[in-house]
Amino acid sequence: MTTTIPLELSKKDFVSDQTVRWCPGCGDYAILAQMQKILPEIGVAKEDIVFISGIGCSSRFPYYMNTYGMHSIHGRAPTIASGLAVANPDLSIWVVTGDGDGLSIGGNHLIHAIRRNVNVNILLFNNRIYGLTKGQYSPTSRQGTRTKSSPMGSIEQPLNPLTLALAAEATFVARTMDVDTKHLGEVLKAAAEHKGTSFIEIYQNCVIFNPNEWAGIDDRKTRSDHVVYLEHGKPLVFGKNNDKGIRLNGFKPEVVELGGKFTEADLIVHDESSQELAFILAHMEHPIYPPPMGVIRNVTKQDYSAGLMEQVEAAQKQKGVGDLATLYSAGETWTV
């Protein structure tokens, strides 16, 4: 094999020749732009990057990336990505999915890809609505959400994507937001670096069918008062003037004002390795709590393909590289 000289890549190398067809103002544009921006920085050759999606608005993503890509069928992207990761463990594989694709029709595949720790990065664009089918409630829609299919309000308990991923023993779980572009880029880079399944929930705005879903937390000016940014080893401080924090009161997190009765020393210190803390953080929901943004959990475990290839190598070492004649004659034979 010839040695390939890595190309100096820039954002435009990742822009495909296809016209982007999302609605004007859709949050997907920002995610696409950040992705194209960070990929030249992750140290992976363009030909080693693959985007796999299912069905839904978010799933058009691969068409707009000038990498290898597949726009597959509803909910099944994690299965395709798993097969691809096993066939070629050296690829950087990204699954782009939504709350309907990933949590409804494809919920089963999502948890199994995560539990196997397949080396893929799963981006779940959560807008809490079905967009491509024109506005039905989704598995993450809040109770009471009024849509065409729930005119009197949804009566279903929504799923929390983060707790689901954690329950499936995800080794990397993070959350970010379409409009928070710098943070989005950082989280994508952290996911790219993680070996094993990286699960990222991206709060994403559907301007047509659910435009006010993230009201209160998506405004750039007031956001810092309404979300808490996580940093490993740092206390959970938030607010425009860093004047608020989260402490534990028994098993319950509690928002406290700093400077009076409480100081930073009373606050939870973020630990990306703690499964217990990860569950507490993942359950902090707006508006009672500032939802956490950033890497909630990041631990290292062997990824699926690495485990499989280890077995291949071990078997070849032990038994030698497979020989057909020996295989055919295994067991009882007789000669006529």
């Binding site: 390939t4 495909s16 296809q18 050759a45 363009k46 030909e47 080693d48 693959v50 796999i52 691969p62 068409y63 990336m65 000038n66 990498t67 290898y68 890509g69 597949m70 726009h71 597959s72 069928i73 099944r76 994690p78 299965t79 395709i80 990505a81 798993s82 097969g83 691809l84 990761a85 096993v86 066939a87 070629n88 050296d90 690829l91 089963n108 595949h109 199994h112 499989l308 077995q311 291949v312 071990a314 078997a315 070849q316 032990q318 038994k319 030698g320 590289v321 497979g322 057909l324 004649a325 295989l327 055919y328 004659s329 295994a330 067991g331 009882e332 034979t333 007789w334 000669t335 006529v336």
Partner: protein
């Protein structure tokens, strides 16, 4: 060693059935008997018949597990219609097998199991050993449980339960004596099997040996039988089932392509043994993936094919139903892969452990849209090896998923396999397009090969070939998403034409018997053995009848229409309501087809097919 007073009768062939509770070890006993006979040199054909329940209530009819073997001194193609010898471990086994037994056949029963409770469980009002209902059979009553316990009474470390589990080897030993067979093959198998539990090896060997000498010393059996070795083609043989042969064929295909074999599958009867056979072959770079469901298995195979592996999935009809949407995507993406359907009785959950051929239409048409997929079907357990390799070849040749229709009978039945020399099996050429630099001409993922219409197999990791594929309708050449009416129409036609052109690279349909005449019998898949034998018998009886067997169901061999039109009548026996008949009628506008259906969850008997031929020709 044999008793000089016992008469030895030479038989050309004999059919034996071992039947008992599903926990009695009948599959193992039958397999042991078969292995010894195969090593002895007989042609063999076996048919295990077991319930879907792992341990159905003991002693009931639902729990009967049977293993039938046909041994012969000449070439045989089926496990035989009717057993001549039945070894019945309990009343239920006797009751379930008796209707199949040849009149005058030999029955060996374990009398210890003929208790009032067991008789009741088998729905016997009176004891068949006492009420005269077995008159006309040669019945041997043997208290197997008592004899086995007596044999092992000195082995104090074993529990009574352990000892009772040796009674199948006592029965096996007796059967070896009756058929003049040596014990050595089974003895060495036991040594290997129980290498870590030598006392169990010892106990079973003791039961086996005592069973053998019981036959010799008690003079219970007046006759012994001998079946001479068959004149098989020279070479080294092993016994192989259809599922084993598929696994070996796939490994061979991968090796001949220079590719890792990816096998993504969800456990389902009767296909799981393919997975079990492949999973230990990691040293062949076999990458098995036990998916979370059937859909995931199919998805994983698409991903692996996109990534450049030889990708295969195996399932049964219910699994194919779930895979349908993803199979459509695979067809649309035009990626090479193999999809195996080991058919079982349907519809729905149906008869999980029984045979049927009722998924032909599902495999051909069971997807939304125009979704042509080539379909192949092995005709015997050994042919499954060739078909698996052939499926790999065609998949790569045309860049398409290829389906294999095996069935529950082929899957578990075994026959001798003349072990091929792997060096004589041709390589399967794979041409991945080369890397490109920016100044090179652009890469077109749907630019087709003029002859085969295959598109290039460009795999991730290849510089300059970055491209997107998907399930949306697409433009020719570029593969870009397109809803243009003429693009859609052209692509639908190209995909169909691509599959149709495979007819140029597959063998023509052969006719056994005259090439034209009154009656042609047409079969496909696993019914080959029974149909072929019935036709040969009819030919030998002076009837003018021919036989053509399909291993390729899509596309059909090029000469299909010509062959079919040469006959006034076409009889198509199928284990379904006439699915191939339906397709042939529709494809070639034939009004000469007679269907012959059977949906019993069991293979055709040669005799019933022969009777049908006699009815049509007599």
């Amino acid at each position: 060693m044999s008793d000089p007073t016992t008469q030895i009768v030479e038989l050309e062939s004999v059919v034996i059935r071992f039947a008992g509770d599903s926990g009695d070890g009948m599959q193992l006993t039958g397999t042991q008997f078969t292995n010894t006979s195969a090593v002895f040199g007989n042609d063999i054909s076996t048919f295990p018949d077991y319930p879907a329940e792992i341990r159905a209530p003991a002693g009931t009819l639902a729990g009967v597990s049977g293993f039938q073997v046909n041994l012969s001194e000449h070439d045989i193609l089926t496990p035989g219609d009717s057993p001549y010898v039945l070894i019945a471990m309990n009343p239920a086994a006797l009751k379930a097998s008796l209707p199949d037994l040849q009149r005058g056949g030999i029955i060996i029963v374990n009398t210890d199991a003929f208790t009032p409770a067991n008789l009741k469980k088998a729905d016997y009002d009176t004891n068949p050993l006492e009420d005269g209902s077995l008159a006309g059979y040669e019945v041997h009553e043997v208290p197997l449980t008592t004899l086995t316990r007596e044999t092992l009474k000195d082995m104090e470390t074993l529990t009574t339960k352990d000892k009772d589990r040796c009674q199948n080897f006592f029965a096996l030993g007796m059967t070896f004596w009756i058929f003049d067979r040596e014990l050595s093959v089974s003895e060495s198998w036991l040594d290997q099997k129980f290498a870590k539990k030598p006392e169990l090896a010892e106990a079973n060997k003791k039961a086996l040996e005592t069973g053998y000498y019981f036959g010799e010393t008690t003079e219970v059996f007046r006759r012994r039988f001998s079946i001479r070795p068959a004149a098989l083609k020279k070479g080294t043989y092993r016994k192989i089932t259809g599922n084993e042969a598929l696994a070996l064929g796939l490994v061979t295909g991968a090796k001949k392509m220079g590719k890792p074999l990816f096998y993504g599958s969800y456990p389902i009867t009767p296909a799981s043994d393919i997975l079990h056979n492949l999973a230990p072959l990691r040293n062949f770079d076999v990458r098995t993936f036990q998916a979370e469901d059937e859909i995931a298995a199919m998805g994983s195979v698409i991903g692996a094919a996109f990534g450049g592996a030889l990708a295969v999935t195996g399932t049964s009809g219910p699994g194919v139903a779930l895979k349908g949407e993803a199979m459509g995507l695979a067809m649309m993406l035009e990626l090479p892969m193999v999809i195996i359907n080991v058919q079982r009785g349907g519809p729905s959950t149906g008869l999980p452990t029984k045979v049927e051929q009722s998924d032909l239409l599902q495999m051909l048409y069971g997807r939304n849209g125009e979704s042509p997929i080539p379909v192949l079907a092995p005709q015997s357990p050994t042919d499954a090896f060739d078909i698996a390799y052939e499926a790999c070849r065609l998949a790569v040749h045309a860049m398409t998923p290829v389906a294999i229709l095996s069935d529950g009978y082929l899957a578990n039945s075994s026959e001798p396999w003349l072990i091929p020399n792997p060096d004589e099996i041709a390589d399967i050429p794979v041409n991945h397009p080369a890397e490109r630099e920016e100044e090179d001409a652009p890469f077109f993922p749907y630019l087709r090969n003029e002859e085969s219409l295959a598109r290039p197999w460009a795999i991730p990791g290849t510089r300059g070939l970055e491209h997107r594929v998907g399930g949306l309708s697409k433009a020719p050449i570029t593969g870009n998403v397109s809803y243009e009416p003429k693009h859609h129409s052209q692509m639908v036609r190209e995909r169909a034409e691509k599959v149709a052109r495979l007819a140029n690279v597959i063998p023509e349909l052969k006719v056994d018997g005259p090439g034209e005449g009154d009656l042609l019998v047409v079969s496909w898949g696993g019914t080959f053995g029974a149909v072929h034998t019935a036709v040969r018998r009819a030919q030998a009886a002076g009837f003018e009848v021919s036989h053509a067997h399909f291993r390729y169901l899509n596309p059909f061999p090029k000469n299909t229409e010509a062959v079919l039109r040469n006959f006034k009548r076409i009889l198509i026996p199928e284990l379904n309501m006439g699915q191939l008949a339906f397709v042939l009628r529709g494809t070639f506008a034939l009004d000469t087809i007679i269907t012959y259906s059977k949906m019993h969850g069991r293979p055709f008997k040669i005799s019933e097919l022969y009777d049908k031929l006699e009815e049509l020709l007599g």
